[in-house]
């Protein structure tokens, strides 16, 4: 934790500020949300690291995908992710967002979440303990340091592919595309 090193602050204030002020949006996407209250209250206290839950995506820059993602929940997840402001980071809890986990053959869950929204970090464990969440936060710091937590840049650059995948999974989406999607025929690859 290099929060108190003034030199780093002067040299890269934006990066340091992003690292030590992560506002997580309080959105229960799956079964893992039961782990978040102990993380933010007395026993484990995420506020020591500058992580506090906020109510709206506008104020947030960290999105915790806690647990399996059903097809119905994917729609609000995408909507919330698009309403967050850059730079924004997402962390997937457990194996279900990775490849569907134990619901790998269910007709109703999303298998590979990173086909629809970019994920910056994964935590193993079904459901990861609060300490694992803190490890994830520290890893996120190192990623931010090394400029590898660039999920939002990926989303912006290859938005058309993401949008196509979302429409394939959810059918018609009732909100306009976040970035201008040039409407030449769908099949091409950038």
């Amino acid at each position: 934790m290099d929060r108190n090193q003034i030199a780093k602050w002067l040299e890269a204030p934006a990066k340091m500020a992003n690292k030590y002020s992560l506002h997580a949006i309080y959105f229960c996407t799956g079964c893992g949300i039961i782990e978040v209250p102990p993380v933010i209250t007395a026993r484990w206290d995420a506020e020591r690291f500058g992580v506090i839950p906020v109510a709206t995506p506008r104020q947030a820059n960290l999105f915790l995908i806690t647990g399996y993602v059903s097809v119905k929940t994917l729609r609000p997840i995408i909507r919330t992710y698009e309403q967050m402001h850059e730079p924004k980071y997402t962390v997937g809890f457990g194996s279900c967002p990775v490849n569907g986990g134990m619901y790998w053959d269910s007709y109703n869950t999303i298998k590979h979440l990173d086909k629809y929204i970019p994920i910056d970090g994964w935590i193993a464990g079904c459901m990861p303990r609060p300490e694992a969440i803190f490890i994830a936060v520290t890893h996120l710091w190192t990623l931010i340091d090394k400029d590898m937590a660039e999920g939002y840049v990926r989303y912006r650059k290859s938005y058309r592919a993401y949008r196509r995948n979302q429409e394939m999974a959810l059918g018609k989406l009732d909100w306009p595309p976040l970035y201008p999607v040039s409407d030449e025929p769908r099949g091409d690859e950038q």
Binding site: A14, Y20, D45, E47, R48, A55, T56, R58, Q59, H85
Partner: protein, 298 residues
């Protein structure tokens, strides 16, 4: 003249520093109440820096100008408030002007929120205005009691009078008004028992729903100024406003920590309960205070 210009530039910066310090103190003390370490004291500064680097979303001209007007209004009020000996613009209007310029901040925030196309914001603002009406009844009675007791509308004279005759909180007629002011201070500051307007659980932080990067930063800074203004007003009117800034700061600290203790242990009021509370005991105390001041004024 140079001293006056220096004061005009210095006092908003001082107010900002103290306000942000109060914000960080609030988070630290709240954490201590919950038996947890809580963020470092410099966390609000980190938040604000991050928010200024974050992109954001705007819903139209009024959405930006309203917020700018509200923060400008708070800065202007700071110019009128004496902070110890420093008081840049006290000469032009006194307590009435302060009372009316404090309207600019909620009005600006309300107009900017109104443009935010979101019913959560409108509900938050209507609650904030109703709460404002709620605590305005006792607050006005208290301010009128102070003004009739010292027979002046200028805040500097109230402070100098208190230097001579001791704190008005301890002098008998204004004791009731002082108690009533203390009872409504959490409502004025908008902290826990009365934070109905920015309740994260019910209306997802009310007027701040659509505030992204720099908007949220400006809103936090405005909240810091509001803390400074309301506590400085109380200290000036009732605790005699000190000769040197340090004692003034210590008095403000005491009052703020007292408010924080209330904030940490109370659940949130519903808006009707808040109004019923505000219009019952504090209003009665303030009314009695005014009657006693009128009687003893002779």
């Amino acid at each position: 003249m140079v001293a006056k210009v220096a004061q005009i530039i210095l006092s908003p910066i001082l107010a900002l520093v103290i306000g942000v310090f109060f914000l960080s103190l609030a988070r630290k003390i709240m954490a201590r109440f919950h038996w947890r370490y809580g963020p470092p004291l410099v966390q609000p500064v980190i938040d604000i820096i991050r928010l200024f680097y974050q992109k954001s979303v705007s819903h139209g001209q009024m959405f930006d100008l309203g917020l700018i007007l509200s923060l400008a209004g708070s800065i202007v009020v700071v110019l009128f408030l004496p902070f110890g000996p420093i008081c840049p613009l006290s000469g032009s209007g006194g307590l009435l002007v302060i009372l009316y310029i404090t309207l600019l901040a909620p009005l600006g925030m309300a107009l900017s929120g109104g443009q935010g196309d979101n019913p959560n914001i409108s509900i938050g603002i209507s609650r904030k205005l109703i709460l404002g009406l709620g605590y305005e009844v006792p607050l006005l009675l208290v301010l009128l009691a102070v003004m009739t007791r010292y027979k002046t509308i200028s805040i500097m004279e109230v402070v100098s009078a208190q230097q001579r005759t001791g704190w008005s909180l301890t002098s008998l007629p204004l004791l009731l008004s002082g108690l009533s002011y203390l009872l409504i201070l959490p409502a004025i500051l908008g902290i826990r028992p009365f934070d109905v307007s920015s309740a994260p659980q019910e209306i997802s932080s009310g007027p701040m729903v659509e505030y992204g990067g720099k908007y949220l930063a400006l809103a936090k800074i405005e909240h810091a100024f509001a803390l400074f203004i309301n506590i400085a007003l109380f200290v000036n009117l009732f605790l005699g406003g000190a000769a040197n800034p340090l004692i003034f700061f210590v008095k403000m600290l005491v009052v703020f920590v007292l408010g924080l203790c209330i904030n940490a242990v109370f659940p949130r009021f519903r808006i009707e309960q808040a109004i019923k509370y505000l219009w019952k005991w504090p209003a009665l105390l303030a009314f009695l205070g005014l009657i006693v001041t009128l009687a003893t004024r002779g």
